[in-house]
Structures are given as structure tokens and as C-alpha cells.
Symmetry: C2
Amino acid sequence: MNIIPPKVLAFDVFGTVVDWHSSIWREAEALIPGVDGNRFASAWRAGYKPAMDEVRSGQRGWTKIDDLHRIILDRVLKDFDIALDEQKRRTLNRAWHRLNPWPDTVEGMQRLKSRFMLTSLSNGNLGLLANMAKHAALPWDLILSAEVFHHYKPDPETYLGVADIFELQPDQVMLVAAHEDDLDAAKACGLQTAFIRRENEYGPDILMKYGDLTRFTYSANDLHDLAAQLGV
Amino acid sequence: MNIIPPKVLAFDVFGTVVDWHSSIWREAEALIPGVDGNRFASAWRAGYKPAMDEVRSGQRGWTKIDDLHRIILDRVLKDFDIALDEQKRRTLNRAWHRLNPWPDTVEGMQRLKSRFMLTSLSNGNLGLLANMAKHAALPWDLILSAEVFHHYKPDPETYLGVADIFELQPDQVMLVAAHEDDLDAAKACGLQTAFIRRENEYGPDILMKYGDLTRFTYSANDLHDLAAQLGV
């Protein structure tokens, strides 16, 4: 284990900092009478990675997440055979700006912020992340997004971009994330890594299973646990 | 006067939010025995606009402010006939990350933040602005920089870029600045404008003189005054 503490903690956001599944579930059921919000949230999210991969491969030009979310939403509504007017589609698409934090998030971030520089490193666009931070009182020092780098994670330009912005070596930055693929990509770029366990990220019907977590610099049950392990 | 309130306040930073002159003065005198910190700060800042204009005209490729500050610093040290080793030059160049706020800044921003989305719109780079915000406890909702747009103010891409990030019309954004040229450029892009009086920005020997300030949406003595005029 690397024992030199990092200077910057760069956080994945969807799933790591905020609970997208229950937030989208609730907003979908509030707006669409009779819909199964649990299934709807999962279907919407399932389109996320393929849509970004279209951008990452160059098949689609740079497109921000708000617009990708909308493209996927229109497709999911069709699959679910739901008629929804334009105004309601817009309102629902903005639900991603109003995601709620996990119970430990805000206090855990406040603890970590006393020692480290906290930045987001999310595929969400800047406007979405700023609205979410205001909604959920997330105490970022800086909001960084794939939008700044015009590259989506797991492209190396995103992880190395954080180090470059702070004029640090890669191992002075630690990615904090609930997703092994994100952490593996950061590790391959030389960043330190902190895994956060979010077993219910995909809702109550799915319990996440993880691989060997000892390959990451830290592995924690939540942000309080990470703060404690970092001696904050 | 436009009476529809804006949704986002975009702040100029150097001079409007932080007092660069006295901060640089003090750090220069602390590091360089016998130097006239007042003159030194003014000479360093005098190189700022010409250096950015080299980037804006395409004469120099994209270069962030930290690097422009360093180029100017080396020139000023030569002009002042001061020998300074590499480590001290680096320390002094980072003084721009440690600028102190004006007395009204933090409380004024807190008031405004309760009603509006607050973002920086500064020519300073993201790392500089994040370090400064942590140093000075500036409660930004979002940190935006010329670095995001790869255009320096007063290029229109910066002002219109803020509106685009929040998916707003230009007149739903208000630039808050102590500089008439910055506000004029924002106004030409359709933004609302708030002038903040910082008569001692350039130190005790220079009292700023201003033109007709009624051309701006608001004109205020400080951020508390602006908050009061906006009914916060």
C-alpha cells in the first residue's frame, strides 16, 4: 500500500456520492402514474454506458450527459410504451440534477475536506453537477467534469487531467469511486484509488458483487470509514 | 433597467472578489528583502493584459495564467534587478493562489448564494481558483475559468459559455465585476451587469476613476450593497 497521502481526492459522483437509483425511481413515479419506477430507473441508466461509448469511440461527436440522458429517455419511454409531453420529458430529464446524496455523503465530505482538496471527476456535465451540488449541499472545492476534458471516463485524459490542473504527479491524486472499472482505469494512470462500497446502488433487487478489492489503495464501507482510514 | 432577476451571478475574481494588490505586495516584501512591494505588485499586474492579448490574438498558443504570471515575473525581476532562485520564484508565483478577499466578499457571497447560483468567471486557471477558494473560504457553487473555454475575457465565448453551461439565455446571467471593460463586453453579449466599486484595487497611490456607471444593470459599493439592491 502506498503510504504517502494524496493531496487531491477526485470523486466519481453517480452512485458514489449520490443515490441515482432511488432518486430517479421516485421522480419517475411522481411524474408518470402507474410506472414501475424501479425498473424505469434501471432501464434509463442501462443506456448510459453505451451512449458514452459512442462518444468515446468517435461514432458520436462531443455530447454532454444532459443530451445523452434525453436521447436515452426518449428510447426508454418508447420501450415502456409511455406517452409523455415535451415539458414533462424536460422536467424528468432534469431529475439527474436533483439526485440525493447517500446518508454519509455530506458529513463524510466535510471531514475529508478539512484535510484534502475535494473535486468531482464525473461524466456529468458542469451545469448538472453545479445544480446537484446546490440541491444536495455537496461541499466541493472544485467541480471537474468530463466536459472540461472533452473525454469521458475511463479515458486516461480525465484522470491525468485532474493531476495536470493541480500541477501534481498522478499518485498525489486519489480517485474515490464505487466502481471497480473506474478505479482500475485510474490506477493504470498512476493515481491512488479508494473503493467505496455501495451495494444497493442499483436498487433493492440487486446486490452488487465485487472482485478482489485489495488491489486498491483503500477500500471503505462509506465516506466516514474512508476518512477514518485516512486519519481525518 | 432590466427588472427580471438573473439566475446565475458570474464573478470576475482578481480585483472584484480578492485584493490582489495588497496580497502580492505583502508576499513580495516577505520574500525579497528591501523590495518596494507596492511598485512590484503593480509592475507584475501590468504585464497581465498584454500577455493575455498575445493568447487572444493567436500570437501565443493557449497558456494558463500560472504560466503567464511566471513569464511576467521573470521579466519584472530582471527589470527590478533582483536575483531570486528557482524555488523562491515558484513560491512567489503561487502567491496568486493565496490572494485575500475584500472585507465584504465572503459574507456578501454567502448572502447572494442563498438566492442565486454563484460562479466565478475568471481568467485565472482552475487550479489557481480552487486553491484560492480554499484559502479564502470563497463559497462558490461552481468555479468557471477561461481555461474551460480556452478563451480569455473579454472574448464573447467566455460570457456566452456561462449561459450555455447552465442552459440559460444570456440575460439570465449577470456578470459581477469591478472593471468597466469586462462589463461592457458582457453587456454586448446580452448579459446583465453589476459594477462593484473597488477604488483602491491598484493600491493606495491610485484612486480609480470611472465613467458613466448608469449603463450597467446595477452599480454597487460592495457585495453587501449589491445583495441589498437585489433584495436578498
